[in-house]
């Protein structure tokens, strides 16, 4: 019998629809796989076996049909799931069971997708390695001694370890794409406002974007279509039709990119990238040229300021967004033993509940917003953001999409970048500009460097998510997919 966990979401959906296999069988296969390998991978913080099987039974009973009905999915632990623990990988939310579903979770449920469980991440999505999870890091299925990327390392590792055919991620500065790149999986950050943030525990409100993760471009597009679309509960949601990403992925699969102009960002060339990453990127460009694409070098002079601007805007918003975790209404409460004042209880709760990277960013953000510093830091960073947006806009007057390596380096060994925060922040050097601009971008596997996966990033104009899927599918068909060693 075929190993159901090795199949794509698209073929699983077809088999379930044709009753060749049941949704319960598919879900059970994945739950069993999780039981078998997750003790070594640690992609999941919580597995909801009963909830997933209940959902699968509904599909088998014919109650729900649809393009992904019965296909199980893993959800990043920063997205609320009604009655199922949601911690954002933080001690401060340990044991918290949300009384409501995020909009995207509602949509998964409506589409008949059993939710296998909640995946590990850097605490509050702050990090690039999952080493900042309060519950221990996730191990990269390609090499268990290396990081799976972050913050969404759990979702990406779950895909690479065949624990789930699809996963939900969130991308604030690269948290979907960089884990995708270092695990050899696909991860898309939709246009900001294209997917609802309602129920996504906020890190940086103006940057956070939920998105789909899969092992193939087509699977990722299918999930994108299920989860995206206007939500009146999110004021920043865009009230426009979702771009037809499925059609675009199918179009790209044919391998014809005639007339498509790819812009290579001059400022990213050789900028701290490992040689293996650069050579995989160059080989991919050549493959795309063979498919008919035209390569144009474009200049985005303000991209060099993206990292510092991001590390002012994101922590500033985070310092405010995370203020609500005070022990008064939910989650951890420390020091409430009659000997501490309310202020002290709040302070002890936050002291004990937040990890080092979260505290670092709260302090940076608090400082950047302080009176007397606001103009120099937060205000200045917002101006840079405008300039970066203009860089994108003028680039897209010349080319259809921009391309770059997803991240400058392949999966690194645990502990190699935690001592210097800046070395960690560099992982998002190429992904951050897109978040500041608000456009969509996708990472697709494009080769190996020293046996580890390299990701290729495609960035598109806002609400032109379909463009990146077309190029990504074409590249995928040209370079093939990459399978990790057996666990």
């Amino acid at each position: 019998m075929t190993d159901l966990t090795r199949l794509s979401a698209a073929s699983l959906a077809a088999k379930i629809a044709s009753k060749e296999v049941s949704a319960v069988e598919v879900t059970t296969a994945h739950l069993d796989r999780i039981a078998a390998v997750d003790p070594r991978v640690h992609a999941f913080l919580h597995v909801d076996r009963e909830g997933a099987l209940d959902a699968a039974r509904k599909v088998d009973a014919g109650e729900i049909t649809g393009p992904l009905a019965g296909v199980p999915i893993a959800v990043k632990d920063v997205v609320t799931t009604k009655g199922v623990p949601t911690t954002a990988a933080s001690k401060i939310l340990e044991g918290w069971k949300p009384p409501y579903d995020a909009t995207i979770v509602e949509r998964l449920k409506k589409a008949g997708m059993p939710i296998l469980g909640k995946t590990n991440m850097d605490e509050f999505a702050m990090g690039s390695s999952t080493e900042y999870s309060a519950y221990g890091a996730t191990n990269n299925p390609w090499d268990l001694g290396r990081i799976p990327g972050g913050s969404g390392g759990g979702s990406a590792a779950a895909l690479a370890a065949y624990e789930a055919p699809l996963a939900i991620g969130t991308d604030t500065g690269g948290s979907i794409r960089q884990p995708g790149a270092v695990t050899g999986t696909v991860g898309a950050k939709p246009t900001y406002g294209g997917t609802s943030r309602y129920g996504l525990i906020a890190f940086s409100s103006s940057l956070d974007t939920p998105g789909p993760c899969g092992r193939t471009v087509e699977d990722t597009a299918l999930l994108h279509s299920v989860m995206a679309g206007y939500d009146p509960r999110d004021s920043t949601s865009i009230n426009q039709p979702v771009p037809d990403v499925i059609k675009a992925a199918q179009l790209g699969k044919n391998g014809d990119l005639s007339g498509v102009k790819l812009g290579v960002v001059k400022e990213f060339a050789g900028d701290g990238s490992e040689p293996g990453v650069l050579s995989a990127f160059k080989d991919s460009l050549e493959a795309l040229v063979k498919l008919g694409a035209e390569i144009v070098e474009v200049s985005c002079p303000n991209f060099q300021y993206a990292l510092p601007a991001y590390y002012l805007i994101a922590p500033s918003e985070a310092s405010s967004n995370l203020a609500r975790f005070d022990g008064v209404r939910y989650g951890l409460r420390e020091g409430d033993n009659g000997s501490h004042s309310l202020e002290e209880v709040m302070s002890l709760t936050r002291e004990g509940g937040f990890g080092p990277e979260v505290k670092r960013r709260i302090i940076i953000g608090t400082y950047a917003l302080s009176s007397g510093y606001y103009d120099a830091y937060y205000g200045q960073a917002q101006k840079v953001r405008t300039l970066i947006t203009r860089d994108f806009q003028s680039a897209f007057e010349q080319v259809d999409v921009l391309v770059s390596p997803t991240t400058p380096f392949v999966a690194f060994p645990f502990g190699s970048r935690t001592s210097d925060p800046y070395q960690m922040y560099l992982a998002d050097l190429f992904t951050i500009p897109t978040n500041l601009y608000g456009g969509p971008a996708i990472s697709v596997p494009c080769g190996l460097s020293e046996g580890l996966p390299v990701g290729f990033q495609i960035m598109a104009p806002t609400m032109a998510d379909d463009r990146m899927y077309r190029v990504a599918a074409a590249l995928e068909s040209a370079v093939g997919s990459f399978t990790p060693p057996e666990l």
């Binding site: 997205v79 939310l93 409100s205 405010s320 609500r324 975790f325 008064v328 309310l342 606001y374």
Partner: protein, 493 residues
């Protein structure tokens, strides 16, 4: 120094920040109800409890109401503005930031004209902005209901997220000794304006309108002094008292060569003075920044024009109209307005009273009573319907003036409607001629000498006998009827 002496030496500068809780059906950023007095925490949801992941969505009705208030205060309406986060930790504020407005308020640069002692004063409005209310903390287990000694603190989030409009005046100099009265007149005018818009019930005693009063003193020709901000000013009378007591307190310090500290003070209803709150030495840095979870507010000019066209009659215009209808002088009308009695009298007339009667009760007996009780007229304990019923009883001859006052006293004391008080206290004009004739005859018999004088034509002496009859009937007779009957019995008429 007396108050008058202080004001010959110092010049006060007054500014007011007023919060008005809007009467929208739902909260500012979610669909929760806003009913007053509901069971604690029954009008809450993930948004107003700030559960992780919840997001705000703007209430259009609240924006409309804010724009209408701005227009009614002669403000310019911003074409584009944003909400901002005001960050500080407080247990009854679920997000630990208040979604408010900072440097981009929805309405700016307006004014309100008020008349005090026949003179008009223009109060500049700096800004009108929209924000959300906090929850309420209740400290239990202690003797005082305050945080000290309490064993538990309970928070009710029903109020959290109810839309609040903040109306900030410019600092107003040059008011002299009338500063307290003018401050009060401004708040009364503001209340009338907002009430006329129908966007809030503006009841200070329920907290749906709250005032902070800024006061400073300076010597003539010198720079404005350091101001204090007095909070907890919860009635029109308190506005006046708070300004006055702050002027007196600051003058005493300045005269002693002392310095005024910029601080928050709390008005004490019982003593009428202000007390130091938390010092602003550890001034909070609110770290304002534009609210990224909400899109900018850009009211379409057509919408603003629509809202403007729908504005009701201005209270000042309305007062001019009512003055005509009621046939009273401008000064009388102004005192009606400053007493906060315009609507009360209007509603009393609508409930069937004569204009003169309605005004007489509200501006006389009830105003005196409100003053004694130290409450706003609206909170004195009588409703317009009750006052109208009282006046109707007087018109029907069932009550005379003296009895009506006693009935009103019963109404204010909560004994029921006028008819009920009349019945329970046994207060009614004696119209039974049999009983009255008997009382008159007894008075004549008891005072033969006076009776004789009257028979001899000294009608003026009748007063003494009328008084005697009124005494035996405990005031329940109609004095004129008694007099007529007396003269008739003595054969004079």
């Amino acid at each position: 120094m007396t108050y008058e002496e202080i004001l010959t030496k110092y010049e006060p500068v007054v500014g007011l920040e007023t919060h008005v809780e809007l009467g929208t059906r739902t909260k500012m950023f979610c669909g929760c109800k806003t009913d007053f007095g509901a069971e604690p925490n029954t009008q809450t949801c993930p948004v107003c409890l700030a559960l992780p992941g919840a997001l705000p969505v703007m209430n259009r009705a609240a924006i409309a109401a804010t724009i209408q208030i701005g227009l009614a205060l002669n403000c310019d309406i911003a074409e584009w503005c944003r909400m901002a986060r005001k960050n500080y930790f407080y247990p009854d504020m679920p997000k630990n930031f208040q979604t408010s407005q900072y440097d981009e308020p929805l309405c700016v640069e307006g004014y309100v004209d008020v008349v005090v002692d026949g003179k008009e004063y223009r109060i500049g409005i700096e800004r009108v902005h929209i924000e959300e209310d906090t929850g309420k903390t209740l400290h239990v287990g202690g003797a005082t209901g305050r945080i000290h000694g309490a064993t538990e603190s309970l928070v009710d989030y029903n109020r959290a997220g109810i839309p609040l409009v903040e109306i900030v005046t410019k600092p107003v100099p040059g008011l002299g000794s009338l500063a307290p009265e003018i401050a009060k007149a401004y708040v009364a005018e503001l209340r009338d304006i907002v009430r006329a818009l129908g966007v809030s019930d503006v009841r200070m005693e329920q907290g749906s309108m709250r005032c902070d009063v800024n006061t400073s003193l300076n010597l003539p020709g010198e720079e404005w002094g350091t101001r204090t901000e007095t909070k907890n000013v919860n009635s029109l009378r308190s506005v006046e008292r708070a300004v006055r007591s702050e002027i007196i307190r600051q003058a005493a310090i300045l005269d002693d060569g002392g310095k005024i500290f910029q601080e928050t003070r709390h008005f004490q209803e019982t003593t009428g003075d202000t007390r130091s709150g938390r010092s602003k030495e550890t001034a909070t840095d609110y770290r304002y920044f534009p609210e990224p979870d909400l899109v900018p507010i850009a009211p379409a000019p057509e919408w603003v024009a629509e809202l403007k066209a729908a504005l009701p009659e201005k209270p000042s215009v309305k007062r001019a109209r009512l003055r005509e209808d009621w046939g009273i002088s401008e000064v009388d009308m102004q005192s009606v307005a400053n007493a906060g009695a315009v609507e009360l009298i209007e509603e009393t007339i609508a409930a069937g009273s004569s204009a003169a009667g309605a005004r007489k009760w509200w501006m006389g007996e009830l105003a005196r009573r409100a003053n004694e009780l130290d409450v706003d007229l609206a909170a004195v304990g009588a409703t317009p319907a009750q006052v109208a019923a009282l006046q109707k009883l007087v018109d029907a001859g069932k009550l005379n003036d003296k009895l009506a006052r006693q009935v009103l006293e019963g109404v204010v004391a909560g004994e029921g409607d006028p008819a009920e008080v009349m019945a329970s206290r046994g207060l009614e004009v004696v119209n039974d001629t049999g009983a009255l004739t008997k009382a008159v005859d007894e008075a004549i018999a008891a005072n033969p000498e006076i009776a004789a004088k009257i028979r001899d034509g000294k009608v003026a002496a009748a007063g003494a006998l009328v008084g005697a009859v009124m005494k035996t009937t405990r005031g329940q007779a109609d004095a004129k009827a008694v007099r007529d009957l007396l003269l008739e019995r003595l054969g004079v008429s």
